[in-house]
Symmetry: C2
Subunit: 411 residues, 2 copies
């Protein structure tokens, strides 16, 4: 049995829905990854009584609880006071915490407001958690069955503190059996298409299969229990890779770290010292925008289909003439931009088909290299912003396949 | 005192952090807007005992509770069973629910799996909530002090059912005093700059002031209590508008509906039948991408600073020559694109300054109309993706100011 883990978030901005509690989602992922079973999330506002009762309840039922928020200097920041009430531990002045808070203001040439003194008052017997990313220290303590950790709600501070201070403490305190997560990232296949492709694979009962369809990729997740043999793991992942084939652009959790599609393309463009120019239509600048910071992107052009060259194409659209037009545009662009590679995106579909979420367009991509012209085409459906995003990704994916030397490339 | 409101979310995908509980945030906003006080959010997984105890607790302490998730056909969908246990109400077969579920499958030419029959079993005495957006009906019932509403966790279904079925029921059942929210949307000012500008305004104690800094706009929120006089409200909002001046691009909650910056620009471009071409640098396609679906955008070009014309500009950067270069580019673009308006974006800053989150660049914008050339410049800081996004917005904002005839425009 894994130790149980709860998350308590404090803040009116969560209760009123001004923000979604993304801290809780982030903390849950980390807790699950290191071997806890997350049993409950709770969010409350700045009512002292509610907080006191909740802390007492949690101290009876959970092995570990991370509480975020309520450590600020204002009167509605009640966490330390609630802990003091719940477990009968008076607040004590912590000189080191106070020096750190003063230092934070001094470094910024600001006078410390009197109210910040409050942040140096910690419950008796708790351990301070130094916070060099913000004003307030966190603290940790045992109450009943539960190891409590109190962290600021500011995501940046919370994440730093959890990773660098809390995780090592928890790993030392609990006997954890972390499971191993492998994520296979694909583009161009929906969840049900993936399901069908992997149907022939026999998945051992201990291995948990999951999917996560994001805007930019579909992730197929395999969660292996603690101690699962490495070779059996590698073999199962290889079976998945084989079945999903060229659609796989990266695998997380094996050897090297991987990133998103742009990361994978960027890595290879740099390695091979290549440059790129693009002509976008359906993605309308989004392909270029996704490549921010990539110096190999020399030029990007978008032209409104109705004023540009596509008007007549749409009227007489067929794969052959769209592809040959795209190729002609690519040749021109290669000359004018001086880029080694040129990616040209066109689509067949009228204005209504592009806007209507129940209609689809057909996307045509051409990648011109030094001496070969590669092609791909895809049907793209959904709301206009989804079509835009898919167009950016699917055009870029033709480049990715070329860079990864996929045999399926069609020239 | 407003009636109290809790949200209970059921689902392992929330507890394991695969998704953030955005349903809870959405429901909270709706509940607050119609006059409830949200007191707690809880998320649990598929443990029957946990659910039973929680439902009993909530029935003692809240006036209303919306529960999402756990209504599916599989064995880990436990909501109805938990309600049956918690309140001693046997599950009963609902013939109409069953007919609806069968119909859902029939319409899609699919055979209804036997497991879906479960979704037609509802706790004795509960009222079915018909769901034409998915397979499972919701249900509602009174238990103890609390009005419970059970809805599917799929966001689309949940939102439809809440808006169209639940809100009218709750408004009839509870005496609600909705407060009135006015949101003033600005661009180009940080939270602290806004604070400083509005300092001279005397805000009545009953009016709640809040801020929300998103990636694309900063929202200044004024929450007026139920029954606050209309003229006093309008006067206070006018004072805010006056102080924040030209930075305000839209106000939500007064008369007309407003949207984001692109929405405001789009509305006016269409009204005045104008067209636009853009040259992007720091935003690298993102400005064009934000305008997806806007047919007045005829052309957009991005060129890598180091290969294009900016290289020498950066070396000898000063406002005057950057602005005159931008103007020359705009004139060329106006001729070649045939657009009525041309927006050109350049920036001063080297590669390191652009990438480093602790450095800033200076953004220069030029808007060329039929006969005038308007200008703006801004310092832009932060991580590269923030710089990119800010550049897209601040360039677009020069166009917005022109379209709204702001007197501050500098030509």
């Amino acid at each position: 049995m894994n130790p149980t883990f709860e998350i308590l978030s404090q803040g009116e901005e969560i209760l009123t829905g001004q923000i979604a509690d993304t801290n809780a989602a982030w903390l849950s992922q980390k807790a699950v990854a290191c071997g806890f079973t997350v049993t409950r999330h709770t969010s409350v506002g700045d009512k002292l009584d509610d907080l006191v009762i909740l802390l007492q309840e949690i101290s009876q039922r959970a092995d570990c609880c991370i509480c975020t928020g309520g450590l600020g200097p204002t009167s509605d920041d009640l966490t330390a006071e609630a802990v003091a009430c719940a477990f009968n531990l008076p607040l004590e002045f912590d000189g080191i915490a106070f020096a750190q808070i003063s230092h934070y203001f001094a470094r910024r040439n600001r006078t410390m407001p009197e109210s910040n003194r409050k942040q140096a008052m910690l419950p008796q017997g708790s351990e301070r958690i130094d916070n060099e990313w913000g004003t307030a220290p966190g603290f940790t303590m045992q109450a009943g069955r539960c190891r409590f950790v109190f962290l600021p709600g500011v995501p940046l501070e919370m994440k730093h503190l959890f990773q660098e201070r809390i995780l090592p403490q928890l790993s030392a305190r609990f006997l954890l059996h972390p499971s191993h997560l492998i994520t296979i990232k694909t583009i161009g296949l929906g969840e049900s298409a993936i399901q069908e492709l992997i149907n022939p694979i026999a998945i051992p009962a201990q291995v948990q299969l999951g999917f996560r369809a994001g805007a930019d990729e579909v992730q197929t997740k395999l969660l292996f229990p603690f101690g699962y043999p490495d070779t059996a793991m590698a073999n199962l992942v290889a079976r998945f890779s084989e079945q999903l084939g060229e659609y796989v652009f990266a695998i997380d959790g094996l050897n090297e770290t991987s990133g998103d599609l742009v990361f994978e393309v960027d890595k290879r463009m740099k390695q091979r010292k290549l440059t790129l120019a693009v002509v976008e239509t359906a993605s309308q600048g989004l392909l270029a925008a996704k490549c921010i910071g990539c110096k190999w992107l020399l030029k990007a052009v978008y032209e409104q289909p109705e004023t540009g060259l596509e008007q007549k194409l749409i009227a007489e659209a067929n794969t052959e003439n769209l592809m040959s037009t795209a190729q002609a545009i690519a040749v021109d662009m290669q000359k004018s931009s001086g880029a080694a590679l040129v990616l040209v995106q066109l689509y067949a579909g009228d204005d209504r088909q592009f806007h209507d979420k129940n209609e689809s367009i057909v996307l045509y991509n051409v990648l011109l290299t030094e001496n070969v012209c590669y092609k791909s085409h895809h049907s793209v459906a959904g709301p206009i912003k989804r079509k835009q995003n898919q167009a950016a990704l699917l055009s870029l994916d033709l480049l990715r396949r070329y860079l990864q030397n996929k045999s399926s490339l069609e020239s």
